[in-house]
């Protein structure tokens, strides 16, 4: 009950007021009653003693002269005090001398002998014995018996106190209601608003101010606080939202980074695998040459194997270099005016061995008239080659690969189709991503680094075109469509019949200087050149090369850059300085194929820059152009 009442401020206030009133009244009443009853008793006893003294004195003569009648007449005077119910006089020896009993009082016991001096309370009666003496002579003892109204008085007091208590408590209740009105109403208003703010998170709510006292100040403070909290909550929310946004972006970036990292790891594993793959056939072919060198057929087969594997290796390394350029943003084009037909032809030439090996039928459809493009011919050929290679790779033997090029409003559209395994629709958007390989199992049939398509699309995009892939689903073949606005001129004249490759001219006999510290490379290179009918001088370091240049007087020099004693760049400068007027073709042969490497080579005086390993056709081309 008490806790139920004291749970609210109103209850507490009422409890405080009522309890204070009650306790104050109770203490006052108890103290007053005790004081009054003590006073009553004292004064009543003093009164009785006075009466006794008067009676005793007045009865002195009666006692002296043994006159009980006179004494009783004296005692009869007590009639004027109706509260004294009985009285008695004892002589000096303590014997009963005279008595008095109020009229109407019957059951009064008056002792025969005087009791000891003093008074005592017997229920609602007070009994007094008082010795009376005169001039030191003991006259006798007066005995009085009177009503003692302590209980009646107490009862009366209790009635009065009870009445006052009830009235006071009523006043207290009214007072507490008034207090509630002036104190609890603002507090309840604050409490109510606080509750609503908590429920609705609405910081625009305000408490109405009704008083100018401390509670009014509290209301103001509370409202100010709400404003402040509202502002901060809003700021916090804004911050949270931007943080969430940022977090989402970061998470996306992190996920992308993780995926890229994972792809890179997979790429490295694949790369190692792919680089190793050609090594075994190469070693086998070498073994065949060594043991069956005399067997022409076997040697020829071995050379074919070695040729194919080497090409594969070169392609891989080229791809790697391109990946590096793409990731570092250094892939740039060297556009020039070139005929579409020649670009396609070089791509087909490069692709045909693989297509034939896959036993896939290739059909080519070209515009009848020659088309002039302003493109990076090498790169475009690389894209065609990539796509053709890709198509042949994913097509089972007996399948078909189609290559068609057409001009639509000065836009070159090249379509490469196959009847191969196709691509599931959900994976179509992914195939152009770097290192993407649809089949990630170790036992996958289709080897590759997974950079070809990505590289191809990037190259087309650099030309301002698009590369898209379409497939009707697994087993239904794939179609790649290139669209690029690089057409300069599309004449109606028919393409010149045949091509340069058809009638390969015999290279003139040249004096060629080779400088490389790699013994195997330089000797095999010399072997190839001598086989072509050239005169070859070999040097293994820079100084040796310089000396040979003076004595041998070469027309063409293939120089390694990383030469001992004198590096390739310095060697080139010396050679140029040696005899500036003479026409000497300088070719840098190096493992470094980056653009700045090529630039550095040009600066040093090189005419050409070749990246190892060097294909025989490239040598032939250079020797031809050097003419």
């Amino acid at each position: 009950m008490l806790s139920a009442v004291s749970r609210s401020i109103r209850g507490k206030l009422m409890l405080a007021v009522i309890a204070t009133t009650f306790i104050a009244l109770l203490i006052t009443a108890v103290v007053l009653v005790i004081y009054d009853l003590r006073t009553y008793q004292k004064s009543w006893v003093a009164d009785l003693i006075t009466q006794a003294e008067i009676i005793g004195r007045a009865s002195g003569a009666a006692l002296d002269f043994n006159d009980p009648e006179a004494a009783e007449q004296n005692l009869q005077l007590l009639k004027v005090r109706p509260k004294i119910t009985a009285g008695a006089l004892y002589d000096a020896d303590g014997a009963l001398f005279a008595t008095y009993t109020r009229e109407g009082v019957t059951d009064v016991f008056l002792p025969e002998r005087a009791g000891p001096d003093g008074y005592r309370i017997e229920g609602n009666q007070i009994v007094l014995f008082h010795r009376v003496s005169d001039n030191g002579v003991w006259l006798g003892t007066v005995h009085l018996r009177a009503q003692y109204e302590m209980l009646e008085r107490l009862r009366g007091y209790l009635a009065i106190v009870g009445g006052i208590l009830i009235v006071s408590l009523l006043v207290a209740v009214l007072l507490s209601y008034w207090l509630q009105a002036s104190v609890t109403r603002p507090i309840l208003a604050i409490s109510d608003v606080a509750h609503r703010v908590k429920e609705r998170r609405d910081f625009s709510l305000r408490v109405a101010k009704t008083t100018e006292d401390e509670l009014g100040y509290l209301v103001d403070s509370f409202n100010d606080m709400l404003t402040e909290v509202g502002n901060r909550a809003q700021a916090l929310e804004t911050t949270n939202r931007s943080l969430e946004h940022e977090m989402a972006i970061r998470q996306d970036a992190e996920r992308a980074l993780l995926i890229a990292d994972q792809r890179k790891d997979e790429f490295l594993a694949t790369l190692a695998h792919e680089l190793r793959n050609p090594l075994a056939p190469l070693r086998n072919a070498l073994e065949i040459l060594r043991s069956h060198g005399h067997d022409t057929e076997a040697s020829s087969a071995a050379r074919d194997i070695m040729d194919r594997q080497l090409r594969q290796l070169v392609r891989l390394v080229d791809d790697l270099l391109d990946v590096s350029r793409i990731t570092t943003g250094k892939l740039t084009l060297r556009p020039e005016s070139v005929a579409l037909q020649s670009v396609v032809q070089s791509a087909l030439d490069a692709a045909s061995p693989f297509i034939e090996a896959r036993k896939v039928e290739l059909s080519v459809s070209m515009p009848a008239a020659p088309v002039q493009l302003f493109v990076d011919a090498t790169r475009l050929a690389q894209v065609f080659l990539n796509l053709l290679h890709n198509a042949a790779k994913f097509t089972e033997p007996g399948g078909r690969v189609g290559f068609s090029a057409e001009i639509r409003k000065r836009t070159l559209v090249v379509t490469i189709t196959d009847t191969g395994i196709g691509i599931p629709p959900e994976l179509l958007p992914m195939i152009f991503e770097m290192f993407a390989q649809l089949d990630r199992s170790l036992e996958r049939q289709h080897a590759g680094l997974g950079v070809g398509l990505s590289l191809a699309r990037r190259l087309i995009e650099l030309h301002g075109g698009t590369l898209e892939a379409f497939s009707d689903g697994p087993g239904r073949g794939t179609r790649f469509v290139i669209s690029m606005p690089s057409v300069v001129e599309s004449s109606g004249a028919p393409a010149p019949a045949g091509d340069e490759a058809a009638g390969e001219p015999a290279s003139a006999r040249r004096r060629i200087l080779l400088a490389d510290d790699n013994e195997d490379f330089v000797s095999s290179f010399a072997l190839i050149l001598r086989a072509m009918g050239h005169e070859v001088s070999v040097a293994h370091d820079g100084q040796e090369a310089l000396a040979a240049a003076i004595t041998f007087r070469p027309e063409v020099a293939f120089l390694d850059i990383g030469l001992p004693k004198l590096n390739g760049y310095d060697l080139a400068r010396r050679l140029r300085a040696l005899d500036p007027a003479r026409h000497l073709v300088l070719i840098a042969v190096t493992g470094w194929g980056q653009d700045h490497d090529k630039q550095q080579a040009r600066d040093a005086g090189f005419d050409h820059h070749m990246v190892k390993p060097v294909a025989p056709e490239e040598i032939t081309a250079i020797l031809t152009s050097a003419h």
């Binding site: 003569a61 002296d64 002269f65 043994n66 000096a92 020896d93």
Partner: protein, 185 residues
């Protein structure tokens, strides 16, 4: 000492008298005499004495007894070590020839009753309280006269006699007197 004995006497007189009416006269007389002796002493306290009543400031309060030697003996016992108004109390027995001098109270026994008028004349209205025990003595100049009523010792008072002698009797004494003569007949 003295009081208890008196008390015992009183009690005996009070309680025994009605229960045993037949007593030897001698015994009853003895009790009556002792009560009268006690009363005599007490009368001294209910009178306003003037200093002129005494020969000197240190003079004792003297009670003269005439014609009742036995009572005088009782009285001597009663007043021993007692005072009246800070004065020692002495008892003197007066013979016929003795002059009535130096006494403040004079008890005239029954045997000397015939000499009462003579004694009153001799006193000549000096402030001497005259106490008697003879019927009609008040008419002859006595101021307080013992009477025996219902076998109890009581007394009657003549105010005019006292007033003539310049004595003022306490109203309390008057209150317990059996009767008081207030005017001269």
């Amino acid at each position: 000492m003295r009081m208890p004995r008196l008390a015992v006497l009183c009690v005996a007189l009070w309680g025994a008298w009605p229960a045993a009416p037949v007593r030897s006269d001698e015994r009853a007389t003895a009790i009556e005499r002792s009560i009268k002796a006690a009363f005599l002493y007490k009368f001294g306290s209910y009178v306003e004495w003037q200093p002129s009543s005494f020969a000197s400031a240190g003079a004792p309060f003297t009670i003269g007894v005439v014609g009742e030697d036995a009572l005088a003996r009782d009285l001597i016992d009663v007043v021993a070590d007692r005072t009246i108004g800070d004065r020692r109390v002495v008892v003197t027995v007066l013979r016929e020839s003795d002059p009535i001098e130096g006494v403040q109270m004079l008890f005239i026994g029954r045997s000397a009753a015939p000499r009462l008028p003579q004694l009153v004349r001799a006193i000549q209205q000096r402030p001497i309280l005259i106490v008697t025990e003879s019927p009609g003595a008040l008419n002859e100049g006595s101021m307080i006269n013992f009477v025996l009523t219902h076998a109890r010792v009581r007394f009657e008072i003549s105010l005019p006699a006292a007033t003539r002698s310049g004595l003022v009797l306490s109203s309390r004494l008057l209150a317990v007197a059996q009767s008081v003569i207030t005017r001269t007949l």
